[in-house]
Symmetry: C2
Subunit: 326 residues, 2 copies
């Protein structure tokens, strides 16, 4: 874990609240951030087509690819709840509770790896995991594909999405269409994006002070780039967690307790926080991150300002259809 | 159970397929049906207001009123699945499987009583049952109300919906707003409704023959009125069911195995069928109903025609929002 101990903290902390409105002074801070594009990178081997998006949208809401027949991707990645579940740890098949907090799928195409432990490099790799996981959808993949094959509508939609495949209903195409749909679930145009694009009034003075504190205290070292994550792994043991993190993937001693930096996009609507979901509020999360990652005790003003800044990262929720499933 | 043994069956069965296109001859059949209104009756003590609809829409998709935090009304009454679940019997808390097939909430405001056994007279009475049922959302009602009270947005929306109440977040108002939302979930303008309204081409000749068979065989004795149900209780023991039906509510010997006639609106998209959901296809359901309720063995043509007619009862799906929950 790289810790940044910025030298400008003391100076910034002494600037009175409200200085932030002199926006010219903040250009050097704004320059540290990137607005969220409307689309993430699209992999060469999985072009984004309307047919794949439509099919992926259907499959995302399809509970018949779970063994109970009632759990879909949208159960835990619930569009009514920031495309996550707002409970500490994911609850899946037969009410089993998993080890980790459900990450939102919003902007997940911008992440350099998937899952808290980064065990899959991309959304194509990620998509089938929860279907098969015993504590999530608990479904045998072959059975899932057989169930889909029973429906004429799925045969038609898979053929349309993958016209060159002789047997288009297969695991790869299931993953590819789900990944394609997920790449449409982006939230551009947040107040902070509008601010970066020149609308000085798009965020409050408190949020601007929070942006300054976010940079000066070094939060931005890991939470950077368009999704405000470096997609790297950093060691952290939050209260109540014994999760070994990336170590469970690599077996490397140095990966113990390391987790991929989560995106901060829409963080205000994707509570609770941390790998175990034990942290309920943004204020607590900011305080803990200060302590654990930066070795700092943020004062109340700093916590409130950074929290106000984080609230500006909630963007426009994406369009999607509640599909009429066959 | 009243059985109708119509005297015109033999004659109707001999009419060649295609006679149905002479629509003038069918007026007497059409007169037996009622098109679906856009709204069901609204009770005097629960006026329909935009505020109640909006709140009810939120609550319908709200999983935090279940004890697991992941099951909402929309889990089993899934808008992607005809507002039902398309599995034989409802699967709820901790994966428990209930005794009965999930009825669709579509057009449920047109029913004279709620649940398969009619144990509640109206949607206000129905709404809280699944929240509290151990095998469904398994939630203590007081806890559900406390959870809602924690959210400023719910305080605001309950106040807006029930402006005369000092403490608007209460069980009655939870039920009233859910019931109000459900009364918006209607499916007018089905092909059969358009046919009844004068569009002779809205349904196929096969479906018209099915309409004739539906009347002549007496299906319409119980499946009548705008929702194609008399809302009365009739004894039936379908394959695999030992369910005592309305007897569990009244304790009356004469109510053993009696169930409320289900609506046939949208029946093509609300499979599987019967109280235990053991019947997978409409063709089987029609055959079983002929045998069990009418004492008749329908021939293949009759089954196919009635099935074609039932397919014309799928209407326009209702508007609703996937709400942004707090």
């Amino acid at each position: 874990m790289k810790k940044i101990l910025p030298v400008v903290v003391a100076a910034a902390a002494m600037v009175p609240i409200g200085m932030a409105t002199a926006d010219d002074d903040l250009q050097s801070y704004k320059d540290r951030f990137e607005a969220l594009p409307h689309l993430p990178p699209i992999p060469a081997n999985n072009s984004m087509t309307p047919e794949k998006i439509e099919l992926g949208n259907m499959l995302f809401f399809e509970p018949r690819i779970s063994s109970s027949g009632v759990i879909s991707c949208a159960t835990c990645h619930n569009p009514a709840l920031g495309w996550a579940d707002r409970i500490p740890r994911a609850t899946g098949h037969d009410g089993q509770v998993g080890e980790r907090n459900t990450p939102t799928v919003l902007n997940s195409g911008f992440l350099g790896s998937q899952f808290w432990d980064g065990r899959e490099p991309d959304l194509e790799g990620q998509a089938l995991g929860p279907i098969e996981a015993d504590v999530e959808m608990a479904m045998d993949l072959e059975t899932a594909l057989e169930r889909l094959t029973e429906f004429d509508l799925y045969q038609e939609k898979f053929e349309a999405a993958f016209p060159n495949d002789e047997e288009p209903i297969n695991a790869d195409n299931l993953a590819h269409s789900l990944a394609t749909f997920q790449r449409t679930l982006n939230t551009p145009n947040s107040p902070f994006d509008r601010y970066l694009h020149g609308d000085a009034e798009a965020i409050s003075d408190e949020a601007k002070d929070g942006m300054v504190a976010f940079v000066d205290n070094g939060c931005i070292a890991c939470h950077r780039g368009p999704a405000l994550t470096d997609s790297q792994f950093h060691a952290i043991q939050v209260p109540g967690s014994t999760d070994l993190g990336r170590f469970t993937v690599t077996g490397e001693e140095s990966d113990k307790y390391r987790f991929r930096t989560p995106t901060l996009r829409n963080v205000a609507v994707t509570y609770p926080y941390m790998n175990n979901g034990a942290t309920e509020t943004l204020e607590e999360a900011v305080t803990i991150m200060g302590q654990e990652m930066l070795g700092r005790e943020f004062d109340e003003t700093t916590v409130n300002n950074i929290t106000a800044f984080l609230h500006t990262l909630t963007g426009d929720m994406p369009d999607f259809e509640v599909p009429a499933l066959p």
